[in-house]
């Protein structure tokens, strides 16, 4: 009953609890391995947010996560468990990189939008299959989208080791994109780029769409109760398909932005699993725009601080991975609780 009386407070606690638990678990592991938890967390905080350059590094790391989190959220809120953003990210990155060097003599104002739209379209098309299968035949989208990830990663790996391999390169990488295709940097010499602003704007737009538009409301109702939606005349299967493709578009765009904004080419290991981290971010943020932004920044902070804190301590990267893993587990646990409650209601 207390939960019902204080919904806002409970929601905030719901978002913060997984982090708090992860911090506690991290502290136990640190103490057990002979590190001083408070000192390590202090270093972590200063490497994540201590000064303009570190904040920029954290926001750069958060950029792909904002969009993969968004890609997951638009699907989840309609009751579609799309786990295929990782594959879309790879394909979108590859398409944007190829357009970025193939159309290198185009002016930036044309080249960048064309490359990004191309990346988004490929991501969207990639999920048409799972979308149709789910909408028409009820085929489990978790299986289809997960499998498509493997195909996308292997396909891009083959392309970058074969037809698209840069001349003279010993390792798997395409040629670099043209300078005109690079997204502008916001705070040189840091790596923070325009892609962060684009991503943030899209998440904000999603927040408005989901709250204030009919389509946004409908897609949520479908996610909450498909049978009820059908009963009140909402076309459920077309909503499923639309949200799946929208999720793919966003996943592809995320990869395109990552290629044009940061990596400046497509290379083997293009994503360390941004698509999967996006799932945790959407779950943690309860599909809300603000939740996605906060969760993406926290994961970005763990990533940026996790790397550079090794310069100043003997804390291995594994501690950060343990914390990320713990956050994900608790985020999912939270999700299960929410679902169960929703089902009873």
């Amino acid at each position: 009953m207390g939960v019902a009386m204080l919904p806002a407070l409970s929601r905030a606690a719901g978002v913060a609890a997984p982090f708090a638990l992860a911090v506690v678990i991290g502290a136990i592991v640190l103490a057990a391995t002979g590190h001083e938890p408070l000192g390590v967390y202090g270093l972590m905080a200063s490497e994540a947010f201590g000064g303009e350059r570190r904040i920029a590094a954290t926001l750069t790391a958060a950029t792909p996560l904002l969009l993969t989190g968004l890609a997951a959220a638009v699907a989840f809120r309609s009751g579609i468990f799309n786990v295929g953003a990782e594959g879309c990210f790879y394909l979108g990155g590859m398409v944007a990189a190829v357009l970025g060097f193939a159309l290198g003599d185009w002016p930036s104002v044309l080249l960048i939008p064309v490359a990004l739209v191309g990346a988004a379209i490929v991501g969207g098309l990639w999920l048409v299959g799972p979308g149709v299968l789910r909408a028409r035949l009820g085929v489990d989208e978790v299986v289809t989208t997960l499998m498509l990830n493997f195909i996308a990663v292997d396909l891009t790996s083959w392309l970058v080791n074969g037809p698209l391999l840069a001349r003279g390169s010993a390792n798997s990488a395409t040629a670099p994109i043209a300078v005109g295709a690079e997204l502008p940097r916001l705070l040189p010499p840091t790596t923070l780029h325009l892609g962060f602003v684009i991503s943030l704007a899209l998440v904000a737009l999603y927040g408005l769409w989901s709250r204030f538009t009919v389509a946004g409301f409908r897609s949520r109702i479908v996610g909450l109760n498909a049978r009820f939606s059908r009963a009140v005349g909402i076309h459920v299967s077309s909503t499923f398909l639309r949200m799946m493709v929208l999720s793919g578009l966003i996943g592809g765009l995320a990869g395109g932005i990552h290629a044009l904004g940061l990596v400046h080419r497509f290379v083997a290991g293009f994503s360390p699993g941004y698509g999967f981290t996006g799932i945790a971010i959407a779950l943690l943020g309860r599909n809300s725009a603000l939740g996605i932004i906060l969760a993406a920044i926290v994961f970005g902070a763990l990533s940026s601080a996790g790397a550079t804190m090794q310069l100043f301590s003997d804390v291995p990267i594994e501690i950060v991975e343990i914390m990320q893993g713990a956050v994900m587990i608790f985020a999912v646990a939270k999700f299960g609780f929410g679902q169960a409650r929703g089902a009873r209601a």
């Binding site: 792909p64 390792n171 290379v267 083997a268 293009f270 990533s303 790397a307 550079t308 310069l311 100043f312």
Partner: protein, 325 residues
């Protein structure tokens, strides 16, 4: 690069994709790094990240801002970012491996993989026609599987073919590319096809895919040749030898040079047979299978390469030779 001060600054090693514990490139480099750091009494930090591709400039700049004197970067995709960052930090030295990048404070390290591969090819051709070696069919047929069709990989392959042809002009070298560095199943299939086609020895230049080549050798009773690290122990007796790339020697050398105030900034350091940067494994499990005369022959070939009597073709510098277009 003022020597007295430089040596007091800490040094960093950026670990490539795959991370520490790969029992290969990264672990080998880190071993050399630790050794040099301990001997030179420097403070040295390894930096690992799952997100290493995306964090190139961020990690390099952070280390430079924090006053690190030397940053050795193992990640191949960091080349361009490293060259850019190096321009902004004249007080920090940088090392990049397996590629050449410009900058007065940048040292590039290249390996003469073709030289070690030449020895591997020579040995393979000699044993293939020697039926006294268990499992050989006596036909002059050997093979090589590359991870991708690129000059970086063909550098190994051409050296291997040249070594084999110089021992036996009639040798047939089957060449194939897996277009994948991480799939042992593909390596297994491709190698089995080569062994079915009569190949006695198959050289793998395909990273993780190559583990399947070794597996195929073990399953079919033929031989594989390992690459990069000493892979003889992966399937004892089935790996004829390994063409070792001494990344540990490379990292150890540049860190020590840095500590001694002799950092080779702006230069390309090449490590070949002469520097012990490449070479064949000690053949712990196959040494006794191979006739002593064959091993003596390989030793004399090595001496001829060192003396310059044999010139091994370098695809990266010379383009493709007539015998391999």
């Amino acid at each position: 690069m003022s020597t007295a001060l430089a040596a007091e600054k800490p040094v960093a090693l950026i670990i490539a994709q795959g991370g520490l514990g790969d029992q290969s490139y990264n672990d080998l480099a880190y071993a050399g790094f630790k050794k040099a750091v301990a001997e030179a009494k420097l403070e040295g930090k390894p930096v690992e990240s799952k997100d290493v591709v995306a964090q190139a400039a961020d990690i390099l700049r952070r280390a430079s801002d924090a006053g690190f004197g030397l940053v050795v970067d193992l990640e191949y995709s960091h080349g361009d970012a490293l060259a850019t960052v190096a321009k902004d930090y004249a007080g920090t030295d940088y090392v990049i491996l397996n590629q050449v990048k410009p900058g007065a404070n940048v040292a590039s390290v290249l390996f003469q993989e073709q030289e070690g591969s030449y020895l591997a090819g020579a040995l393979a051709a000699l044993v293939a026609t020697d039926t006294s070696v268990k499992g050989m069919n006596g036909k002059p047929i050997i093979g090589v599987i590359g991870g991708t069709k690129s000059v970086g990989i063909d550098k190994f392959i051409v050296g291997y073919i040249q070594g084999a042809r110089d021992m036996n002009p009639k040798v047939e070298v089957k060449v194939a590319y897996s277009n994948n560095f991480g799939d042992p199943a593909i390596g297994l299939q491709m190698a089995k096809a080569m062994y079915d086609g009569g190949a006695n020895v198959v050289y793998q230049v395909a990273g993780g895919t190559g583990l399947g080549v070794i597996q195929a050798a073990k399953e079919t009773g033929h031989y594989a040749i390992g690459v990069d690290t000493d892979q003889d122990g992966v399937a004892p007796g089935a790996v004829l030898t390994s063409m070792i790339k001494r990344t540990d020697v490379a990292v150890e050398t540049v860190v020590k040079d840095y500590a001694a105030g002799k950092f080779p900034g702006g230069k390309t350091v090449t490590l070949g047979l002469a520097e012990d940067g490449v070479g064949l494994s000690p053949m712990k499990y196959t040494h006794d299978l191979i006739p002593a005369a064959t091993l003596t022959k390989i030793e004399s070939v090595k001496k001829d390469i060192l003396s310059g009597k044999i010139k091994v073709w370098n695809v990266v510098d010379q383009g493709y030779p007539d015998f391999f277009k």
